[in-house]
């Protein structure tokens, strides 16, 4: 319903709608071509074979895509906090988070999910792995948990905007930057960075740990093997943290003087 309204309101500026649609399509398409070219050139990365890197890329990309599809609008909330237009949302009988998340719906975000899924499926076709039922189950669980982890980090990032409206750049580096990081094997990064991604901002649970288990490779940073299955747990804990941060943020909201 709301999405329908959005499309209608966008259609009122018909020309700009078509241009947006076209550019979004082009951006997504060229992104995709760039990835294919990259994979075509690089035979392996940090001791990981081409198909293995593709698995990392696909899982991170899909998880991030889903999170961005649902929560991507949050990063633009800083302006609303600054100019006080959040007031209107706070008057309505629906949870604020849901309203902001559904505020601006961008078609290009579907492109991101599709792109991640294509690479993921493609890598699964190429991979030469001894599949076990556990591995087959782990993969979708990891992708869904990964999406939730990214979503929770986005919510925490958005909560910070209630205090510091210009913080979007910093908080985006955790999500967009994290996504880029996770698309490559942990072996190519400095150990300290990898440790940070495991123990501080636990993005490693999005795909690194589960995917490494699937690939029968040792987990990085001295993490025990069972950690590969801890993604749902990490996702749940992060959701709790995100909920608390968001609440504190809303309570700190100060509107504007006029």
């Amino acid at each position: 319903m709301v999405a329908g309204m959005w499309i209608r309101s966008t259609m009122t500026y018909r020309a700009s709608f078509l241009i947006t649609l076209f550019t979004n399509f082009c951006v997504t398409f060229f992104d995709f071509v760039a990835i294919l070219l990259m994979f075509g050139q690089v035979k392996g990365l940090g001791g990981f074979a081409f198909a293995e890197v593709a698995l990392l890329y696909g899982t991170a990309g899909t998880a991030f895509g889903i999170a961005d599809l649902t929560m991507g609008s949050l990063q633009r909330m800083g302006a609303r906090v600054r100019d006080g237009s959040l007031d209107t949302f706070l008057l309505r009988p629906a949870p604020l988070l849901a309203q902001i998340a559904g505020d601006k719906f961008a078609l290009k975000r579907f492109g991101r999910v599709a792109q991640g899924l294509v690479v993921l499926i493609w890598s699964l076709c190429l991979l030469d792995v001894a599949w076990t039922p556990l591995k087959v189950l782990l993969l979708p669980v990891a992708v869904v948990s990964g999406a939730v982890i990214f979503g929770a980090v986005m919510v925490v990032g958005a909560s910070v905007l209630f205090w510091i409206q210009d913080a979007a750049e910093v908080t985006n580096s955790f999500t967009y930057g994290g996504n880029t990081l996770l698309q490559y094997p942990p072996t190519i990064f400095a150990q300290d960075l990898v440790r940070g991604v495991v123990y501080v901002v636990p993005l490693a649970f999005v795909n690194w740990l589960p995917a490494l288990y699937v690939l029968d490779r040792p987990a990085p940073a001295g993490v025990p093997e069972w950690a590969a299955f801890a993604s749902p747990l990490v996702a749940a804990v992060l959701c709790g943290v995100a909920g608390l941060a968001w609440r504190a943020g809303v309570r700190a909201y100060r509107s504007t003087g006029s």
Binding site: S85, L91, S255
Partner: protein, 331 residues
């Protein structure tokens, strides 16, 4: 069931403190300071009342309303609307209140009014029959018929304001908060809005709390007025009672046969003279009759008239004007 005993809106020592940082000397040094926007306000409003909430710029009116709706979380004190703590249960309260900010629309900027209303319909889960009935009534009384297909961004200020008022009422709120609903409206639009609000209050029994800088709004609509300044409640009562509190004075304009020295009668104060005409001030709460009799008995009188104190003057004085300023404005 407690709502029958408790007042509908109840504030107890409500406070809102904003911490503001100011750039101080030096590049990175910043000074923190506190703005006590609402500084310990207590009042209660019963169901069905229509209350005016007035005060000078920056008094804390909008801040109070934002706390009443749950937009802002109070820094201290207690607050209940329909038995609900607004900041805690904001979404539940939203079903029961309607809000109009004169300065800011709650409508969807790019959508025609009609579509905004349809979204409200969904969002507030208004029963179809109620929705149709309320919309028809608002469209008729606020004369929105021709505007329904116009995108909100194309509406004029007065049209948008009427659209906003209708939007705030579709879900049958028990209380309507209006923050400067007549700001920037022409005389005709103001009259229409006032008439609508008064109709709403009498027919639907909706509780109304409104802030305004136009005292005519208050005079025509509100039986009760609250005056705040610097975040504190200065007055709460009938509009007419403001005269007593404000020590306001009425003026007796006396035309004498010829120029005479200042009239000196008990109970009145000489203000000024201009040839044979003299101005006397006396308390607004006192009767004019004995004064008139005394002046008539002692002086050669041609004509006289009583000038009522201007409510704006009274309030301006309450807003912290000095005695001298008042004397000037009385002339």
């Amino acid at each position: 069931m407690t709502s029958h005993i408790e007042p509908f809106i109840e504030l107890e020592n409500l406070e809102k403190v904003f911490t503001v940082r100011r750039k101080a000397a030096g590049l990175f040094r910043r000074e923190k300071s506190e703005v006590r926007a609402v500084d310990g306000i207590s009042f209660a409003v019963e169901r069905g009342e229509m209350v005016g909430y007035i005060g000078p710029n920056g008094a804390g009116k909008s801040t109070t309303i934002k706390m009443l709706t749950g937009i802002l979380t109070p820094s201290g004190g207690r607050l209940r609307v329909a038995g609900i703590d607004p900041a805690r249960e904001r979404t539940r309260l939203a079903q029961r209140i309607g809000v109009v900010f004169g300065q800011r629309t709650t409508l969807w900027w790019d959508l025609p009014l009609k579509d905004s209303y349809r979204l409200m319909h969904r969002m507030y889960r208004i029963p179809d029959a109620r929705f149709r009935e309320n919309l028809d009534r608002c469209v008729e009384l606020l004369e929105l018929g021709e505007l329904l297909d116009v995108p909100v961004r194309q509406l004029s200020l007065g049209q948008r304001m009427r659209g906003d008022i209708a939007a705030a009422l579709l879900h049958d709120p028990e209380v309507l908060y209006l923050d400067e609903p007549t700001i920037g409206l022409d005389v005709v639009s103001k009259a229409r809005v006032r008439e609508f609000l008064s109709h709403l209050n009498t027919t639907q029994g909706t509780t109304v709390l409104l802030t305004t800088h136009d005292l005519t709004d208050i005079e025509q609509l509100c039986s009760r007025v609250m005056v705040i300044d610097h975040g504190r409640l200065m007055y709460d009562g009938k509009l007419s009672g403001l005269h007593a509190v404000g020590e306001s004075e009425r003026l007796l304009v006396v035309d004498l046969e010829r120029e005479l020295p200042p009239i000196d009668v008990p109970g009145a104060r000489f203000v000024r003279s201009e040839g044979p005409r003299q101005w006397l001030a006396f308390p607004a709460t006192a009767s004019a009759a004995p004064l008139v009799a005394e002046v008539a008995a002692a002086y050669p009188l041609i004509d006289l008239s009583v000038r009522e104190p201007d409510i704006e003057t009274v309030i301006a004085k309450m807003y912290g004007g000095t005695r001298d300023e008042r004397r000037e404005s009385l002339m």
